[in-house]
Amino acid sequence: MFFDRITAFFCLAAVFFILTANTINKYDCKNTFDNELFTHQKVLPMDMKRNYYEDVQLVTSPVVFFWLILLFVFLVVFPFIVGNYYVYVANYIAINIIVAAGLNLLVGYTGQISLGHAGFFAIGAYGTVILMAKAGLPFLLALPCSGLVAAGFGFLLGLPALRLEGPYLSIATLGFGLTITQVIGRITLFGGREGLHAPDIVIGSWIIETDRQFYFLLVFITVLLLLGMRNLIRTRVGRAFIAIRDADIAAQTMGVNIVFYKTLAFAVSAFYAGIAGGLYAFVLKFIEPEMFTLMMSIMFLAMVVVGGQGSLMGPIVGAGLLCWLDLKLRNILDIPFLGDWLETLSMSWFSITGVSNIQYVVFGSIMVAIMLFEPLGLYGVWLRTKRYWRTWPF
């Protein structure tokens, strides 16, 4: 009861902070603000850089350091204070965070479109399981290997993508995703339509059996990959990606090698998806080709867009939100109040058998609403809120 009140209080406070910042301030300095967002330079007074070293720092201030430590403590303590189901949810979210972060490199930073990431995901999943079960490689070797295989396919897909954009690129990647699952489903080595069981993971003398043990491995890998992404974006490579997104012809005239960097973006993005796929196989313990559908690719794209393209936080928030919604909406009728109301609504107007399809309606509406009202996603809302309250009385 007490905790419920505290949660409710914090939720209300958050709603208040966000609403004030986004309704009052929105029209005051809209233009300057939008410009800042699109160039992704936060020129707030407090964010001013004083020397070059600050560009390289991972942790920019003691406050950030404090929250970071708190986050890590939370991540470590989390599986011990919640039930098994929530550990599973956390694993599921962490995997989607990895894919979304990888896709964000392609969509948000390099400005390409991919509707075929479920294909790379499938390659990673099948690669890891097969390398472990059939070739007998240890997990820690099989995972990066299958990531590299996925990256190879990403490189191959990146080659035609060099000359394509817009709808052309989207249909090419979409076709790739569909083809991969079809091909995998037809090859007997890959278990065909029956799918494959994931073997147990053994690292040294540590045998991973439960979700909770896997959680620690997964969180470690996720944090590592996110750190890698953050650093990649700040290097020469990352700046080249951003230059290609903003104006590829201009970037070329400035000496950015477009062929190299575009294929690299595809490869790195596919690598992330492959690693995530490899881990996904061990969360579900079982993989079959039917899982890696076009809908999955669409959901990955939705995570990036809903969270906010071109930021590191965006995919994390987007993946968290959409996965949580996904798992919640699977048993939509169990939600208190709303479930009963939906049940009567379905009885009288719709059909009760199709009630689980409400999740499509919800996801679709979220995607449309985000694109219409806040193209920078939830991260844009956060930036606006932060900006408003930092300079609050003014």
Binding site: G354, V368, P375
Partner: protein, 291 residues
């Protein structure tokens, strides 16, 4: 030889439905540069509404079909008015995400309302009615699809070439600002474009629905139609049609002679190959990017 001709004939029939979907997408892309992923689901909604009119309300077939086309036009116009127009200068990714979102909403609503199982459409021509020319079987439905596709293509061709509205649409596509200056209501043109395109798509949907009718029935024709539109160059109506027939025929021949298992994905392999060599499609004039 008979097998070959039979395969080509059914390829042409399949290609007709791809061609209709491709045309619908090209019409919208031509005017507003939106690759409309919701096209299939717009047709899906229309087909299910028609089924409801026929079964639940018991309307006669001609009335139900007329109402269906009116509904399709209204739906397309409404989506443009309510959603696409509200987007603030969306980039290509933005429009893709919006139309995919619309697709999911429509798909969700239809499958919520009707459930996921197979339905039967009380269509005047059954899916297995056929006639024989020489040794070739032709389903009446396939023939009807082909005829309606050809008629619609001709109509659209003349519409874009000679009618005032069609010319205004062309003008809007080429330069919206200039079109506005000479007095074309570009917003209204967009709405009409979506309406027309939705009607073309709905024709495909109605002709597919006697054979398969469940909420995911339009995914394959929509994706293949989109593939054909892209292969034809995304802005060329004849290009989309030719590419759609090519895809339909190649797909069927591939299924017959090489491997039935990969039949459904060979179209994508082809378009990836085509795009490798002709990045702006087979029939588009060379795509020049504005810097």
């Amino acid at each position: 030889m008979v097998d070959f001709i039979q395969m080509v004939v059914s390829g042409v029939a399949v290609g007709s439905s791809y061609a209709l979907m491709g045309l619908a997408m090209v019409i919208i892309y031509k005017t507003s540069e939106v690759p409309n992923f919701a096209q299939g689901e717009m047709a899906l909604v229309t087909s299910f509404v028609t089924m409801m009119l026929l079964t639940t309300f018991g309307y006669p077939v001609w009335l139900a079909f007329c109402l269906a086309f009116v509904f399709a036009a209204a739906l397309g116009a409404f989506l443009e008015f309510a959603v696409l127009r509200r987007a603030k200068n969306p980039n290509i990714l933005g429009t893709i995400v919006i139309t995919i979102g619309l697709e999911m909403v429509l798909l969700g609503l239809v499958s919520w309302k009707f459930g996921a199982e197979q339905k039967t459409m009380p269509f005047p021509i059954g899916p297995y009615d056929s006639f024989i020319i020489g040794d070739i079987f032709i389903a009446k439905l396939e023939a009807l699809t082909l005829v309606s596709a050809l008629v619609l293509m001709a109509l659209l061709f003349f519409f874009f070439r000679y009618s005032r509205l069609g010319l205004a649409m062309k003008a809007t596509q080429q330069n919206p600002t200039a079109a506005k200056i000479v007095g074309i209501r570009t917003n209204r043109i967009m709405m009409m474009t979506w309406g027309i395109s939705s009607v073309v798509g709905a024709t495909a949907g109605l002709l597919i629905s006697p054979v398969i009718m469940h909420p995911f029935m339009m995914w394959d024709p929509m994706l293949k139609g989109f593939a054909a539109a892209v292969m034809g160059g995304m802005t060329s109506l004849p290009g989309a049609v030719v590419a759609a027939y090519m895809l339909g025929i190649i797909e069927n021949l591939f299924g017959g002679y090489v491997s039935i298992e990969f039949k459904s994905v060979v179209a994508f392999a082809i378009i990836v190959l085509v795009l490798c060599f002709k990045p702006s499609g087979l029939f588009a004039r060379h795509y020049v990017k504005k810097v």
